[in-house]
C-alpha cells in the first residue's frame, strides 16, 4: 500500500491534527426527521468525537443511511440540530463542508463518460475557484489516491466501462482527495470482491490512524466489529445501543435487535468478537 505523500500538503488545506482542529466532531441534539410516510428520528441525541472510527449498524429500515445523510447535510432535520466542530451544520457553505466531510454513497451512477482520473479529480472541487483549473498538485493527489486503492491502471478508463466494484473504489478515491476530517460511508463493501474489501478496510484504518474520522454504515456486523472502535446500533429510528464492539457483539444483543440468535466466536487474528449464523 502506498502511503500518502505527506511532504506536499494540499493547497488551502489546514493541517489536520493541529491543536486548533481538536474540536468536538458531531454533536447531534434532539434531532427529529421524518419522511413523508414515516417518522424516523425523534429527539435523537448522540455525539461522535473527532477522529473516531464509528460503525452504524441495525436491521433494515432502522435509519442508518438517513443518519449519515443527515450528518452530511444531504437531508435537513425537521427539528433539533447537528453541530459540527462547534458550529451548526447549517451554517457551513457547501464547499466548506465538502472540505471537511466526505460522503460515499451506497451506489453511484455517472451520466457522462468521464475517465476514472477525471472522476477522482472532482474531489478537489471544494478547494478550487469557479474558473480555476486542476493544478498538477491536484493530479498528483488523485494519482496517489488511485495508487493507494491499487487502481492506478484504471486511471484512463471510462468510469462506466469498469466493474461496479472498481467504480466504488474510484468513488472512495474521490472522497480521499477531498482531504476530509471525517469520511461517511454507506455500505462501502457492497459490490467489492474479497481482496478489494480487505483493501478498503485496511485503508480506512490507515486513514483513521492519520486522524480522519470514519463513520461507516454496515450490514455485516463482523467487519464492523473488526475495524471500528465504537458501534451505534439503530433500530426503527432509535439509537438502541452505543458502545464498544467487544461489549455489543453478543448473542443476546443481536437477538434483541435483529431477531436471530447467532453463535459467538472470535476473530483468530485480532481476537475481536465475531458472530456466526447457525444454519441447520
Amino acid at each position: 500500500m502506498t502511503p500518502r505523500n505527506r511532504n506536499t500538503p494540499p493547497r488551502n488545506t489546514p493541517p489536520r491534527n493541529t491543536p486548533a482542529n481538536t474540536k468536538s466532531g458531531f454533536v447531534v441534539k434532539e434531532l427529529c426527521f421524518s419522511y413523508a410516510q414515516k417518522t424516523l428520528f425523534e429527539n435523537l441525541t448522540v455525539s461522535i468525537k473527532e477522529g473516531e472510527f464509528c460503525s452504524v449498524v441495525g436491521p433494515n429500515g432502522a435509519g442508518k443511511s438517513t443518519f449519515i445523510k443527515l450528518l452530511a447535510r444531504l437531508l435537513e432535520p425537521s427539528a433539533g440540530e447537528i453541530i459540527f466542530r462547534d458550529r451548526p451544520l447549517s451554517f457551513y457553505r457547501r464547499k466548506e463542508l465538502a472540505q471537511r466531510i466526505a460522503y460515499v454513497p451506497q451506489e453511484s451512477y455517472f451520466a457522462l463518460d468521464f475517465t476514472v482520473i477525471e472522476t477522482v479529480l472532482q474531489g478537489r472541487h471544494p478547494y478550487l475557484k469557479p474558473l480555476e483549473r486542476y493544478h498538477s498538485s491536484d493530479y498528483a493527489m488523485a494519482r496517489s489516491a488511485l495508487d493507494r486503492l491499487q487502481i492506478s491502471k484504471l486511471a484512463e478508463k471510462g468510469i462506466n466501462n469498469i466493474s461496479s466494484g472498481e467504480r466504488q473504489l474510484a468513488v472512495i478515491a474521490r472522497s480521499i482527495v477531498q482531504h476530509p476530517s471525517v469520511i461517511l460511508l454507506d455500505e462501502p463493501l457492497n459490490h467489492l470482491d474479497l481482496s478489494h474489501q480487505q483493501q478498503v478496510l485496511t485503508m480506512l484504518l490507515e486513514l483513521n490512524r492519520e486522524g480522519v474520522g470514519v463513520v461507516l454504515v454496515a450490514h455485516d456486523l463482523n467487519y464492523a466489529a473488526l475495524v471500528s472502535e465504537r458501534m451505534l446500533v439503530f433500530s426503527e429510528g432509535k439509537l438502541v445501543e452505543d458502545g464498544r464492539p467487544e461489549t455489543l457483539l453478543r448473542a443476546d444483543i443481536v437477538q434483541r435487535h435483529w431477531g436471530v440468535k447467532p453463535l459467538e466466536g472470535r476473530h483468530p487474528e485480532s481476537g475481536k468478537p465475531q458472530i456466526f449464523l447457525p444454519i441447520s
Binding site: L74, K95, Y103, P105, S108, F114, Q122, P126, P130, R133
Partner: protein
C-alpha cells in the same frame, strides 16, 4: 493532443466560414465596404445565435442529465413566439418592438416555468423539464390562436418561428443587438464558469452535494441564464431548431464530456454550423429567389448527425 487539434479545427472552420459569408454574394466572391456593411451584422447575428443556442443546449443537457434536451424544452422560446405573434397582431412591428415583445414573452415563460417547477421551495430537474414542456405546449397553442386571429401575418409568424438571420438592421436595432449580445456573452461566460459543477452533477445528486456543489443554486442559475439567453436569440433570430440539440453531441464526440471544453467548443461549433446553414440558404435564395427559414436546413442536417451519434453511443 486530440483536443488541441479539435480547437484548431473549430477556430479555423469558423474563421473560414465567416470570410466566406462576408464575401459570398450574387456577384461571386467579392469584398467591398458597402456590401460588408450589410453583411457584417448578419454574420455577427448568425455567429451569436448559433453559438449561444449550442452553448445553452450543452449546459442544459449537463444540468438536466438528458441527451435529448434542447434549449427550447425550458419553454422560453415558445414564450418568445407568443410575444412575436402578439406584436404582429397589435401592429407593434417597429424594429425595436418585435425583439422587445419576443424577449418579454420569453421572460414571462421563464417566470411561469420557474414558479411551476418549484415545489416546497425546491426545484428539481424533473419538475423543471415537466414545467418547461407544459409551458411550451401552452405557448404553442396560444401562438396558433394568435395566428388564426391575424391571418394576414400568418406567413410572417411562421417564418419567424422557424428562424432567420436575414434581419434588416437599422442603426438603433444594431445598437440594441450589440448591447444584448455583450450582456449575453457575459451570461454565457457565467455558464462556462460553472463547468466543474456541471461535470460533478453527472453523478448522484447526493454525491454532488457532498462534493461541494450547491445543486439548488446551480439549477436555478443555469435555468435562468439559459432561458434569458434563449430569449435574446429568439428575439433577434427566431426559433432555430436542432442546433442546441445536436452540436453538444458532436462536441462531446471530439472533446469528451468535460464542460470546460464542451461549453466553449459548442459555441464555436454551433456558430459554424449556423453559418454554413445560412450560406446554404443564401445560395438557395440566389438560385431560386425563395427565402427558406433556417430551421429547414439545420433540421435536415441535424437529424442524420444526431441519429449517427446516438446509434454509435448505443452500439
Amino acid at each position: 493532443m486530440r483536443s488541441n487539434l479539435g480547437w484548431i479545427v473549430l477556430v479555423v472552420l469558423l474563421a473560414g466560414l465567416s470570410l466566406l459569408a462576408l464575401a459570398f454574394g450574387p456577384a461571386g466572391l467579392t469584398l467591398d465596404s458597402q456590401i460588408l456593411a450589410s453583411r457584417v451584422p448578419r454574420l455577427l447575428l448568425t455567429i451569436f445565435a448559433g453559438g449561444i443556442l449550442a452553448l445553452v443546449g450543452a449546459a442544459l443537457q449537463g444540468l438536466l442529465q438528458n441527451p435529448l434536451v434542447d434549449p427550447y424544452i425550458i419553454g422560453s422560446s415558445s414564450g418568445a413566439g407568443v410575444g412575436v405573434a402578439l406584436s404582429l397582431l397589435l401592429g407593434w412591428t417597429s424594429v425595436i418592438g418585435r425583439p422587445l415583445f419576443a424577449f418579454a414573452g420569453a421572460a414571462g415563460a421563464l417566470f411561469l416555468v420557474y414558479t411551476l417547477a418549484r415545489m416546497r421551495g425546491r426545484m428539481s430537474r424533473l419538475s423543471l423539464i415537466l414545467a418547461g414542456v407544459a409551458v411550451s405546449f401552452v405557448g404553442s397553442s396560444l401562438v396558433m390562436v394568435l395566428m388564426v386571429l391575424s391571418r394576414e401575418q400568418l406567413a410572417q409568424i411562421i417564418y419567424f418561428l422557424m428562424g432567420s438571420t436575414k434581419v434588416v438592421f437599422t442603426p438603433t436595432k444594431l445598437w440594441v443587438f450589440a448591447g444584448s449580445a455583450v450582456v449575453s456573452l457575459g451570461a454565457a461566460g457565467w455558464l462556462v464558469a460553472r463547468w466543474r459543477s456541471l461535470d460533478i452533477l453527472s453523478t448522484n445528486i447526493e454525491a454532488a452535494e457532498s462534493l461541494g456543489v450547491d445543486t439548488q443554486k446551480l439549477t436555478t442559475e443555469v435555468f435562468v441564464l439559459s432561458a434569458l439567453l434563449v430569449g435574446v436569440v429568439v428575439a433577434f433570430a427566431g426559433a432555430i431548431s436542432f442546433i442546441g440539440l445536436v452540436v453538444p453531441h458532436i462536441v462531446r464526440f471530439i472533446f469528451g464530456p468535460r464542460h470546460l471544453r464542451v461549453l466553449p467548443g459548442s459555441f464555436l461549433a454551433g456558430a459554424s454550423l449556423l453559418l454554413a446553414s445560412d450560406l446554404c440558404l443564401r445560395g438557395f435564395a440566389m438560385a431560386t429567389g425563395v427565402d427558406l427559414p433556417l430551421s429547414v436546413v439545420t433540421t435536415l442536417f441535424g437529424v442524420p448527425v444526431f441519429l449517427y451519434i446516438m446509434r454509435r453511443r448505443l452500439a
